[in-house]
C-alpha cells in the first residue's frame, strides 16, 4: 500500500461545550510512515497525550475532536462508525500506557488478558491462542512465559508489567504502536531495558511507533522524527538529528538545555521559567512568548509565522 501509515491534518480537540468550550489541541499536523518511529515531545498539559487518545478514539467523555482528519491506512478514523473503529483498535493500532498497573486488569491473570485480546480479533483456536500468548511473552523478554502467564499484574515488577502491556499491545500484530510515556514510572536501568526491548520489537515486527515523552534525550535514542508540542500546538518538527543539532524554536532549545546530563557542570540547573499556559487561556501572540528567552514585543502580540523547510517546520518569528 502506498501513502503514509498515519496522516493527521489540522486536528483540533476541544473540551466542554457551549460557553465552557476550550480548545486543548489546535491544528496539529502529523505524519507517520510505515515502520517509522516518530515522537511527540512536550511538558505535561501540552496536549501530546490527548493527540494520541484522539488517534485511538479514546478521548475522555466531554472531550472530542472538533475538526481535522486522522487518516490511518487510507481511512479517516474520525468518519468511521464506532464498530469499525473498535475492530481496528487493538488490531491495527495499539497503545501502551504510562502506568501498567492501572492499565492491566488486576483480577485476571496476564496470560488470560492477552488471550482474550487475540480471541477478539483473530481465530487461532484455543490451543493456537495459548501458544501465541506464550510466544508473545517470550518476544517481550519474559522468562518462563508458560508459568508467568498465570501471574496477576500485582505479582510483577514495574518493568515486567510494562513488558506484559507491550505483549498485549502487539498481540494482534498492529501496524502502529502508540507508546505514551512507557518508561516514566520506571527506574533508569529498567527504562534502558524497556527501550531496548521496544526497539527490538519494532524492528522484528516492522511496527511504526508513535513515542510520547517529555525527555528529549530518550527520544533521540530511538526515533527518526520528532514533533515538539507546546500549549496544544506543534511548535517544531523535523528529523531527530537536525532538530537536536540545530533547534529552530526557542522552546525546543530551552527544553534540550533542561535535561539533566552527567556533564560535571555545577551551579544552578538551567530551567524554563514560569508555567505553560492553562488550557484555553492562550496569549494573543506566541503561546511560549512569556517564558521565551528570545521574545520581543512582536512575539507577544502577533501569532508567529510557520517556517518550513523540506521535512522541517517551526512556528517562531525567529526561526527563519
Amino acid at each position: 500500500m502506498t501513502g503514509p501509515l498515519l496522516q493527521v491534518d489540522g486536528l483540533s480537540v476541544a473540551a466542554g461545550s457551549g460557553a465552557n468550550r476550550r480548545g486543548v489541541v489546535q491544528n496539529v499536523d502529523l505524519r507517520i510512515e510505515r515502520g517509522e518511529v516518530v515522537s511527540l515531545v512536550g511538558e505535561s498539559g501540552s496536549g501530546k497525550s490527548l493527540t494520541a487518545l484522539a488517534i485511538m478514539q479514546l478521548l475522555p467523555s466531554g472531550v472530542r475532536a472538533s475538526s481535522g482528519r486522522i487518516v490511518f491506512d487510507g481511512v479517516d478514523l474520525l468518519e468511521l462508525p464506532r464498530r469499525a473503529m473498535n475492530e481496528r483498535r487493538g488490531r491495527d493500532i495499539a497503545m501502551i500506557f504510562q502506568d501498567p498497573l492501572t492499565a492491566l486488569n488486576p483480577t485476571i491473570p496476564i496470560g488470560r488478558q492477552i488471550y482474550d485480546c487475540i480471541r477478539t480479533h483473530a481465530d487461532l483456536g484455543h490451543r493456537g491462542t495459548l501458544t501465541r500468548v506464550e510466544e508473545l511473552l517470550a518476544l517481550v523478554g519474559i522468562a518462563h512465559p508458560h508459568e508467568r502467564s498465570r501471574a496477576y499484574a500485582h505479582e510483577l515488577s514495574g518493568g515486567m508489567r510494562q513488558r506484559v502491556m507491550t505483549a498485549l499491545a502487539i498481540a494482534c500484530g498492529p501496524k502502529l504502536l502508540i507508546a505514551d510515556e512507557p518508561t516514566t514510572a520506571l527506574d533508569v536501568t529498567v527504562q534502558a531495558q524497556i527501550m531496548t526491548m521496544l526497539d527490538r520489537i519494532r524492528y522484528e515486527l516492522g511496527l511504526a511507533v508513535l513515542f510520547i515523552s517529555h525527555n528529549l534525550d530518550l527520544v533521540a535514542e530511538i526515533c527518526d522524527r520528532t514533533f515538539v508540542m507546546y500549549a496544544g500546538s506543534v511548535v517544531e518538527s523535523g528529523p531527530v538529528e537536525t532538530l537536536f543539532a540545530a533547534p529552530r524554536h526557542p522552546y525546543t532549545r530551552q527544553l534540550l538545555r533542561c535535561i539533566p546530563r552527567l556533564d560535571w557542570a555545577t551551579g544552578p540547573m538551567p530551567t524554563i521559567p514560569g508555567l505553560p499556559p492553562r488550557f484555553g487561556d492562550l496569549p494573543a501572540g506566541c503561546a511560549f512568548a512569556p517564558r521565551c528567552d528570545a521574545a520581543d514585543a512582536r512575539c507577544s502580540s502577533e501569532k508567529p509565522p510557520v517556517w518550513r523547510e523540506p521535512g522541517r517546520m517551526a512556528a517562531c518569528w525567529r526561526a527563519a
Binding site: E43, R91, G206, L262
Partner: protein, 309 residues
Amino acid sequence: MDASLPAIPLCELRDIRKEYVLRRGLLERFNRTERRVAAVDGISMAIPRGEIFGLVGESGSGKSTLGQIMVRLIEPTSGQLLYQGADVAALSAAERHELRHRVQMVFQDTSSSLNPRKRIRRTLSEALRARDADKRRNTKAIRDELASLMNQVGLDAVLLDRFPHELSGGQRQRVGIARALAMAPELLVADEPVSSLDVSMQGQIVNLLQDLNRELGLTILLISHDLAIVARICGQIAVMKDGKIVETGPPSRVLAAPVHPYTRTLLDSIPRGLHGRQRRPAGTEDANRALVPARSFRERLIPELKAGE
C-alpha cells in the same frame, strides 16, 4: 553546642537492618519457621551537617526504606540511629518528639502527599501550629510566616487559597517542601522529589533544594535514581543495591571511575540523546528501515484475522 563539635555528623547510621517477614505458608506456620527478607541489610553511613547527600539505587534497593528509617517512619530491626552523636533509642519520649520536628520529609508523589480537601493555607498552617503547639501564636503571626514560607519556596502567596489539584506538579512539590520547612528542620529527607516531574520543572526543584542548602544550611538526603542530578548537587553519594551500600564517596570519584559493576550499569542507563543512538542493534539504521520485513508476526496472523478488512 554543635558548632564546637563539627566532627560529629548530623545523622549517623550504624549497622542498620530492616527485615520483613514474608507471608508464611501452611507448612511454615506448622513448623513455626519463617522466611525473612532484609530490605536494608546492615548499613552504616554518616551524613555531615550542611551536606547534600545523595542516595542512589534502583527501586527495591532499599533506599526509600533507609530514608524512612532516618525520619523514623519505620523502626529498624537492629542497628543504631544517631542524631548529633546521640542514640535516638536512648532519648526520652519528649526528646524524640522534638527530634521529629528537626527531621522532615518530602515525598515523590505530589498528588498523594498533600490532602486534596485542604487548601494550601490550611496544610501549611497546620504544620506551623504543630511546631509550637504550646506557644499559641496568633493568627497574624501565622499569616506572616505563611507568606514568608511561600516566598522561600518561590511561590506566589495567591496560591495559598488554592487546592492541590489546582496547582501544577512543580508547584505542589514546592508546597511539599514548604510544609517540611514549616517545622524549621535540620535534616530534609527528599525521596525522589523530582522523578514525577517534567524535565523542564526538575531543574527548578533541584535549584530550590540547592538554595535551601546554601541559605539555611539545611542538610539534605536526596534519594534519587537520576545520577545526573545527584552528580550535580551532592557532595557525597552512596550507591545502594539489594539493601547494601556498594559504593560511596564524592560523585566526581564514584561516577567518574566507578569500581562496582552496578554503578557502571546505572551510568550506562542514562539516556544520552544523539550520542546514545549507536546503542541500536545492528542493521536497524534508517537506510535499512524500508527493507525491514514486516512479515513474521502480522503476516502469519493476517489469514486468521476476523472479517473487517
